[in-house]
Every structure is written in structure tokens, then in C-alpha cells.
Symmetry: C2
Subunit: 481 residues, 2 copies
Amino acid sequence: MASREKWRNKYSEWFSWLISTAEIYDYGRYPVQGMGVWMPYGFKIRKYILDIIREKLDSRGHEEILLPLLIPEDLLRRESEHIKGFEAEVYWVTHGGDTPLGVKLALRPTSETSLSYMESLWIKSYKQLPKKYYQVVSIFRYETKATRAMIRLREVTTFKEAHTLHADYEDTERQVLEAIEIYKEIYDDLGIPYIISKRPDWDKFAGALYTIAFDTVMPDGRVLQIGTVHNLGQSFTKAFEVKIQLEDGSLDYAWQTSYGISDRIVATLLSVHGDDRGAVLPPNVAPIQVVVVPIPVAGGIGEDLRSYVDKVVALLKSRGFRVHVDDREDVRPGAKYYEWELRGVPVRLEIGGREVEESTVTVARRDTLEKTMVKLEELVDHLEEVFEDIRRNLKEKAWRFLEENVFRTTSLEEARKAIAEKRGIVELPWCGSDECGLKMEELIDAKCLGSPLERPSWVRGVRCPVCGGGAVTSMRLAKTY
Amino acid sequence: MASREKWRNKYSEWFSWLISTAEIYDYGRYPVQGMGVWMPYGFKIRKYILDIIREKLDSRGHEEILLPLLIPEDLLRRESEHIKGFEAEVYWVTHGGDTPLGVKLALRPTSETSLSYMESLWIKSYKQLPKKYYQVVSIFRYETKATRAMIRLREVTTFKEAHTLHADYEDTERQVLEAIEIYKEIYDDLGIPYIISKRPDWDKFAGALYTIAFDTVMPDGRVLQIGTVHNLGQSFTKAFEVKIQLEDGSLDYAWQTSYGISDRIVATLLSVHGDDRGAVLPPNVAPIQVVVVPIPVAGGIGEDLRSYVDKVVALLKSRGFRVHVDDREDVRPGAKYYEWELRGVPVRLEIGGREVEESTVTVARRDTLEKTMVKLEELVDHLEEVFEDIRRNLKEKAWRFLEENVFRTTSLEEARKAIAEKRGIVELPWCGSDECGLKMEELIDAKCLGSPLERPSWVRGVRCPVCGGGAVTSMRLAKTY
């Protein structure tokens, strides 16, 4: 907890230290601002997270595709609200070699336009619907705000964008709920806590009817948007002439949703579970789940020790654990512990003379730092339990932190004070008008995240603190990234 | 064979028909020339191929990373031979929103420059070497030649580029051999035949000491380069100051190799195995390995049939087969056969009244179109044998075609005639001089692919047909893509 408090001020520094020292993501040295390099260890964490995302999408009938990176200017401009939202941030390719291009090409900021164009060729009938596509690609935004590793990038290298197509509005509503379910499952599998809000109208995705967002509170108390789900209505299908034949034979524009997750999911995973020693990875996404450190007996790794270690490793590999043996002779065990704790390996096995003799291993947990001596024949069962316990422990701790950082009040003054002193999220009763929402931002000096998906019971009979009218829902506000 | 002959002239048309009708890759309709869309079925074939590539690289200690797409102009220009090779083909980003960028940014044509820059930060000592990185990314070339689906693209969406770093030249030579081994294994796993040549000096990679290439003969007799391995020497490490401490304490520039495979691997897989009915996929990369078609009894799929089909499918899934049941009621079995043959599914199971009664299934092979009746209890073993047989059959047929298309001769006139009449590869004795090689290109009206890695025995005592000097090796020539 002390460590948590300290973090409020040093979190940003800690994060930079972690991703560079643990060789996760090289940021700030590549000579283009806002673009970093995924190093081998970080790449693997990212891969295991993507495996989870893909599995959740695939199992619900989403199909992976790959669209071109470059979008011609006229295509990007075809939906007018959309281009207004992105215009200032688009990178433009203007030349091929020395030749000026006839049409400027945008680096995709997102793919609603290019996919809708293709859907107008692919989809002709309600019988083909619903259709759910996704891709995992780099997107580009010429950010004017300060860039930040994995969080505000000019090349977002891990953009999972899902795009769905439907025969009517009702089916988009069902799809929005499915997307929310999928995102809950993904974040639950990673132990990442979230709060789900319907974004205010003035902050929805460019071209959408409405936007639902997943937010989380980072260790410094600031809020990070970690996922969004948009009901796009018919904006893009009208702009791109995605017309389908309905069951009654008539023609109409199809309906769409889209939903995205970015590199931020990796940043969040590292940040909500990490501690002073470094990363603490849930076992399901740890590139190394078990690191084995042989403790040299009388200065060396003898034959007995080596063959016992081999036996343990063979056993664990045969049971599907991702195991690494750190048998470097020129590094002391203490230095090895430090390094693997930094990298967040969930479990370390220490094996020395005593363990060989007694046919045991010493199991050290990364999350609690506890050590237990376990008999070899019980090791596999023990590790399975420990993994499950780590998963639960990380998730509970992270959710507790989020819940401690949500503050409900009916007073603007209290809300302002809470944000100024502790950051986190404040939740106030709200009459539902844009005017009062925007006024709250000004008075509290924070940004509106939006309202819960269902009217919260505590706002019944309570008044909007700005206009004094009856509250119809609540508004959440926070200092955001 | 008749079909093969016919193909010489209609192959290009066949390929366009296949990728569009089988919904593999949508090409020619996206409004930027040379850029296509991977559709769900094609994306899966590509994924299974990438799984094989990754497995081969990972198992030999290659580590996957991800570098930024954009390379600042000054970085790209730092190695002078390299930029000369790519200058005319580079796409340039010049604006972010309305703002002109201070430095133009290139869409990566390949990543030797950006990675070497990072390696100068990462690698300090021989102790860290050898180091093997790779990434799978889109690369961009503003092609001036005619673009062609998967084969000559402006966005190559499946570029696997491996980059290795070594303490001395000898180790790069060892690495080149390892890369060749890896590529052999990859193509062997796909049943794709290849011929390996050391490219002539005038056709090596921009910045390399030398280039080894894998080529194959496409159904129309033209040759396609499907993989390259470059020994980069110290060109890039000198340009980017990648200096390492050697074992004796001295400092020197490190040594590099790089090797790449592109979307062409998918194009080749489809082309070398396909036939008039469509794709013929090897089971290891088939998105659907077994399609089950229930044959309606008396006009419908009754309960007995359905429960027997379910039983068969459950059995196959439990044994790890990728199975799909086509139980559409409004499509006739014949139309289903046509569709799944087009898509190259290796095995079709037909199940009707007789099969239910006798507890059998009818197994239809895609490669030979043979049908066999098999008892249910023997099905799994039978399928495993059939898969192995399909793999062997496809590979043998493809290798036979390649071998039939390599023509050795000592006569320029015969070589010219062979290329003009049949295309394929001609191989002539060669004295080793650039002058004679270039002269051969002119006289034969074909392009030099280069020489075998070892001096072929048949050129002993034979003369170079251009200058009449003694042949030191052979030169291969072909009409290329």
C-alpha cells in the first residue's frame, strides 16, 4: 500500500524503467517520435494477449482479414463526420520515389472506410448477415498531444479492430452487448479491472451513433481508456452504398458496429499488476511461467544437481508449462532472482543440494514473494493451484484498487477536491444535458467519461448539482491520459 | 498433363479466377493499385503457412520483434548502396494533417536500416552473439512494373524478414547455410519445389556481399523468386556504428545476414498444387481438412443421418482434425462438392443412408478425386494415411514438374529455342565473367538466375558458349516474373 501511494507520483518513471530494463519495449530512442520497438520478451507478452483476444473473437464467429494500410483521400473523406474527427491527425503519403501521387494516400487511422468500401462489393443480402470481421494491424495518428510509450503513440502497433454488419438496428444493439461481453472476458482473463461508460455525445467516435468505453484507473490515479465499442448505425453504409436485400425483397442500407483494443492493453496489464520489483505477469500471458534456478553446491553445478534439474524441467514441459532454466555460471543466484522478478515470471523454482537430497523443490511466488518447499511428486498439482491463486490474487488486488478510486458524491466541491487531491474517478448525479456535463468538466477540472449503461439507483430523487434539475443518471469524471 | 499444357497459356487467368472465386484474396478492386485484401479463407491459409515459418525460425533461436513502419529519410540514406537500390520505389510520408514534416518518412521497403540502428543500441559484446531477429510485416514498394496479385504488390502484406548479427565473417557463412536449411524445410513442408542459385553480382540485394535465392517454375513456365538469403557483411554495421567488443578485447563492426519470404509463398502454394477445379491444399495448411457432406435421404437430413454425422464429426474433432459440416438444406450435394473442391479441402466425407446403415463413410480425396468406402472404426487411421499420401503425392508431382522444366545444354541456340518455345529454366556452362553472363541474357532473351552453390560436375572440360573459355560453373536463365 505504501508502495501504491508512492506510485502516484513516480508511476510514469517506473513504467519507463520497467519496459526498458525488462527489455519489453524500446521507446524514445527510435528516431521518430511516438514510435517504439517491441523487443523479443515484450513481443511474446503481446502475442499471448493477442492469442486470448483472437480466441474470444473466433469463438463468437468473427473472421480475421487484412485490409491495405493505405486509404485514398477520397475514400477517407466520403463520410463527413468521420473525416472531421481524424483530419488533423492523418499521415499522408504524397510521393512514390520522386513521383507525386495522383491521389494522396492516408496511413489508416482506423478502417471503417476501407472495409465499408469492400463490404459494398461483398455483401448483397440479409442472408449473409450478421457478418463479423476483425484485423490486428498498425494504425497511425499524428498526435499533437504529448506521446507516451504504448499509451499515446503515433504508430499504434497492436490495433485489434472488429467490424460487424447487420440487417437491422436491433441486431447492432445485440452486437454491442456481445462486444461488451467479449471485452469483459478478455479483461477478466488478464485480471484487468474496468468501468464501463456510455461516452457523452460530444466525445463519441467520429461517425458513430454512440460509443461505449472501457476505462481503468492507472497507478497514478489517472484514467486510461482501454477499449471502445461503437454503434455506427448506417453512417458508413450510406456513404459507401452498402445496400442489402432484406427478407421482404426490399433494399436498404446495412447497419454496422465496430470495436477496438490497442497496445494500451499491454501497458495496462504491466501497470495494474506491477510492483517496485517490476512486472508481475498472470501465468496465462507469461512468456516464461516457471524459471528454474539451480543453486550451485560448493561453487558449481554438479552432475547430481544438473540431472535432478533436467528431471524437473522434463516433467514440467511434458505437462505444458513454459519453463526456462537459468544455468548461467557467471551470474549469482541473487542476481538471477532480481532479473526474473523484474520480468514478472510468476513462479521461480530454486533447486540446490537440499532439494536434490530430499527430492523437493523450493517454489517462490512472484506476486506474494512467498517461498514453499514442495515434494517433487506434488509439484505439478501445486503449480496448478499456485497459478490459479496468482490469477485470483492479482485480479482481486487490481479490482480493489479500482473500487477504492471511484468516489460517489452529490457535491461539486467534494468532487473537485477529490480529483485535485487523489485523482481517480468521481461520479455525480446528472440531469443528462450536454450543457451541465460540459459545465461539470469546467467546475471540477476533469474530463467526462460518461454514464453507466443502466441508470444507477442512488441518483433517484437526487438533483443535478449544476442546474438543480432531477438527475436521470450519473456522470463520471476523471483526469485522463 | 493435358491440363498442365493448357495452363501454360491460361495460368494467369486461372489464378485470378481461383483467388476471387474461392474468396482467398480480393485483388484489383481496392482503389489503390497493387494492394489487395486477405479474405477470411485466404487469411487462414496464410496463417497456417506463417505458423510453419515461425516454428522453423523459433526452434533455431530466432526471436520475433516489431519495428516501426516509418523510417526517417536520413536513416534510410545512411548506407549508400542500399538507398540506390530502393530510391525509386520508396513511398514517402510528407505531411501529418496539414503540417509538413521536418523529415520525410519512408514506408519501410525492408528493415535493415531501422534494425541496424537499434542494434547499435542493443548489442555491445560478442557474448550476445549470434543474435537472430525476425518480424512479419507489411513492406511497400512503388513498383513501376505491372503489379500482380500476391506476386508483385505495392503493399507486400506478408513479409517475413529475418536479420542476424555475428562476431565474424565465418559465422555469417554458417548462418547463410542455416537459413538455406530453414527455407528448404519450409518449402518441403508445403511440397513446393525450388532451385537454389547464387544470384549474379549485378543482381544481388542492395548492400549485400552476395545473395542466394530460391526460385520455382510457375505453371506457365515463368520463374518466380520465392525466397532470398543475403550475406550483408559489414555494410550496415559500418553505416550504423554497430560496434562490438570481441573476445580479445578489441572493438570491431559486427557482421550480418538477412533473409526474407513474402506473400509469394501463398501464391506458389496455390499455383504449384492447383488444378482445373481450383486449389489443392496440403492438409497441414488447409483451413478445413475434412468437409462432411450429408446426403439427404428422401429429400431431407433425417434424425438418423444427423446423429451419425454428429458422431463422425465428434470423433474427428477429438483427434484434432479441422472439420466442417456442410448441412445447408438449400444447396445440392453436387454444388457443395464443387465449392469445396474449388477451395482445396483435402478430404470430403460423403455420408448418406447406406453409410449410416453400414457404419461407414465415403472418403473422397481432393488430389486424385478417388473415392473409398471406409469403416467408421478405421476412419482416423485411414485419414492419417491419406493425409500423408496427399502430402507425398503433391510434393512429388510438383517436383516432377520443376525437373521437367530445367534444361541443360551447351548450345546458346538450343537454349534460346527452349526458352522461346517452353520457357522453364535453361542451364549453360559459364566462364564466370559478368560480361559473358550479361551477353547470355541478351542472346537467349532471358534473365540470369545465377549459379548452383557448388560447381556442377557436368561443366568439367566444357567451354563457355559465349567466350569459349573454360567453364567454372553453370549459369541458369529463365523468363521471370
